[in-house]
Amino acid sequence: MTAPEIQKPLLDVRGLTIEIETRRGPAIIVDGINLTVGKGETVGVVGESGCGKSLTMLSLVRLLPNKIKVKGGTAEFAGRDLLKMSKSELRQVRGGKIGFVFQDPMTSLNPVMRIGDQLCEPLIYHRNMSKADAGKRAIELLRLVGIPGPEQRITAYPHELSGGMRQRVMIAMGLACDPELLIADEPTTALDVTIQAQIVDLVKDLRKKLNMSVVWITHDLALIAGLVDRVAVLYAGTVVEDAPVGELFARPTHPYTRGLLASIPKLSDERASRLSSIGGTPPEPGRRPKGCPFAPRCALAESICHERVPVLEPVAGHSGHRVACFVAQRQLKEAA
């Protein structure tokens, strides 16, 4: 893995806040997220479902659903704020410099359009390619993502492909314009382990070839262990821990991260031993507790946790590792 250029991140999200309109008034779902992605760096974003992973990424290309709006923050991509760009500028970026892969291919592939035509569209639009050149490039892309017989496949409709192949077509679309940044939202969650392994290897391979930055969103910590350089752990719309991948697995510090890691069955487990689990579920929008969002489920919670919100602070002595937890920070100081 090449060392990422830390100095000037390709994507720099600061204080991103997203609100949803509910019957009881506006409620915050994403609460001041900070996230950076360096050039050539692969960042994993993990967290349970509903913690705001998808909305964070959708907001960057301004594809948020109705009733959900960005309330604050900036998201600089190559020095320009995505959240303030004009519509036409944005169209240049979306599907061009930033490629997207969504969780459910059936919602983002057009069911009545041949996959070749769907692949050609952004090439003609963003790259001003001729139809013939775009067609050639589409075949090349399908070959790149490991679809056998791409010359025949470009005339297929999405429903004629298996789930794994559709997902690969989605990745081909995300990669169509040689993006500088690929954002993949649970791209393998619905797939078999065998296909998942193929796709993970494919992305690893491509990012090296194309020197691309990647944001990989998932709830599966095991999956990203061998894939990413850095991990941001999301809980209830905030980043609670952020660290290089080896560091995160070696020294998980936030109680939520520890809970997530402990609940994954390991090779070394005794058969049928009890797994440790985090009781309860994340708060619903509009029902976020006043202090630390994790406090209602946290075994270590103290009175301060119910009063004040912890902020991300460096873990002393471990560069690049940050955690938002009163008790963890205090324990680290006591240990030092």
């Binding site: 095991a222 999956l223 061998g226 390991k266 058969r271 031993s273 579920t281």
Partner: protein
């Protein structure tokens, strides 16, 4: 495990006849389950794994006689249950239950949780109307839900809570055997761990037997006594948890295992994966001979022509592969 099995599955076959073409003018056969043999022992967790479409769910449904078997037998309490009509099946229904991946689609949205859980109790006449509330409360407690949930509706529950309700409903008629078809696959890891613990607790408490269908091999490795690997409608390998994970014999099992990610960045960086190329072939036209030969890295001529025999190569370790046959014959 020399004891008489709780359930004996013998040469079980399930084919679906489908219509193809714009006007359904052509008939075709889906070879969903083909000549599957295995025993299920009382109190064990037997898992079925394999890629999507390889026939795991169909095996589960057919075994419970929820879908009519094309041929073969499933022996439970001395009776071949797959030959029974719904009326004669009824006494066995109570003892043989199933829990699905998405309980939302199987729980009636207009029934309260209390009604959902109480319905099978009344249906099988296991309690009177007056005794019902207490029974429901006890069942909800068994699955870790407070009694007040009885008056709620399915849409008011989280995914994990709905799965608990589905389990309570399956438990309601004191079954011996439960098929868990991807029962935890749609849940977050943390909730998954809760439900796994619940299933293990209930198994201990009531001596339940599980057929656990799943695609997450880390979970399967955690909870199973024995594991069966299916490929395109056939069993490729069946062995104890230890045998299968430390000494996988079938090339398909090996490929499956090597695709499972471990939560360990160091291990992941150095590990050699054996990536399977391509997708599972269509079950409408499964390959001749060994069905895995189109993706098998060590396929031989024989594999393309002859179906490998289902053999026990070591006590409790069954496999169907010509290469293994040659090795172990030598």
């Amino acid at each position: 495990m020399a004891a008489e099995p709780l359930i004996k599955v013998e040469n079980l076959v399930k084919h679906f006849v489908v219509r193809l073409g714009a006007f359904g003018e052509r008939g075709a056969t889906v070879y969903a389950v083909d000549d599957v043999n295995f025993d299920i022992f009382a109190g064990e967790t037997l898992s079925l794994v394999g890629e999507s479409g390889c026939g795991k769910s169909t095996t589960g449904f057919t075994l419970l006689n929820l879908q009519k078997a094309t041929s073969g037998k499933v022996i439970f309490q001395g009776e071949n249950i797959v030959s029974l009509n719904e009326k004669r099946m009824r006494p066995y229904r109570r003892e043989l239950q199933i829990v699905f991946q998405d309980p939302y689609s199987t729980l009636n949205p207009r029934m309260t949780i209390g009604e959902v859980v109480g319905e099978p109790i009344l249906f099988h006449k296991l309690a009177t109307k007056a005794e019902l509330p207490e029974k429901v409360t006890r069942l909800l407690a068994d699955v870790g839900l407070p009694a007040r949930f009885a008056s709620r509706y399915p849409h008011e529950l989280s995914g994990g809570q709905r799965q608990r309700v589905a389990i309570a409903r399956a438990l309601a008629c004191q079954p011996k055997f439960i098929v868990c078809d991807e029962a935890i696959s749609a849940l977050d890891v943390s909730v998954q761990a809760q439900i796994i613990n619940l299933l293990l607790d209930l198994q201990e408490k009531y001596g339940l037997t599980y057929l656990f269908i799943a695609h997450d091999l880390a979970v399967v490795r955690h909870i199973s006594d024995r594991v069966g690997v299916m490929y395109l409608g056939r069993l490729a390998e069946l062995a104890t948890r230890e045998q299968l994970f430390s000494n996988p014999l079938h090339p398909y099992t090996r490929a499956l295992l090597s695709a499972v990610p471990e939560a360990d960045p160091e291990l992941e960086k150095t590990r050699q994966r054996q990536i399977l190329v391509g997708d599972v072939p269509s079950p409408l036209a499964p390959p001749a001979g060994c069905r895995f030969h189109t993706r098998c890295p060590i396929a031989m001529d024989k594999c393309r022509a002859v179906v490998p025999e289902w053999r026990e190569v070591e006590t409790g370790h069954h496999v169907a592969c010509h290469a293994v046959e040659m090795e172990t014959a030598g």
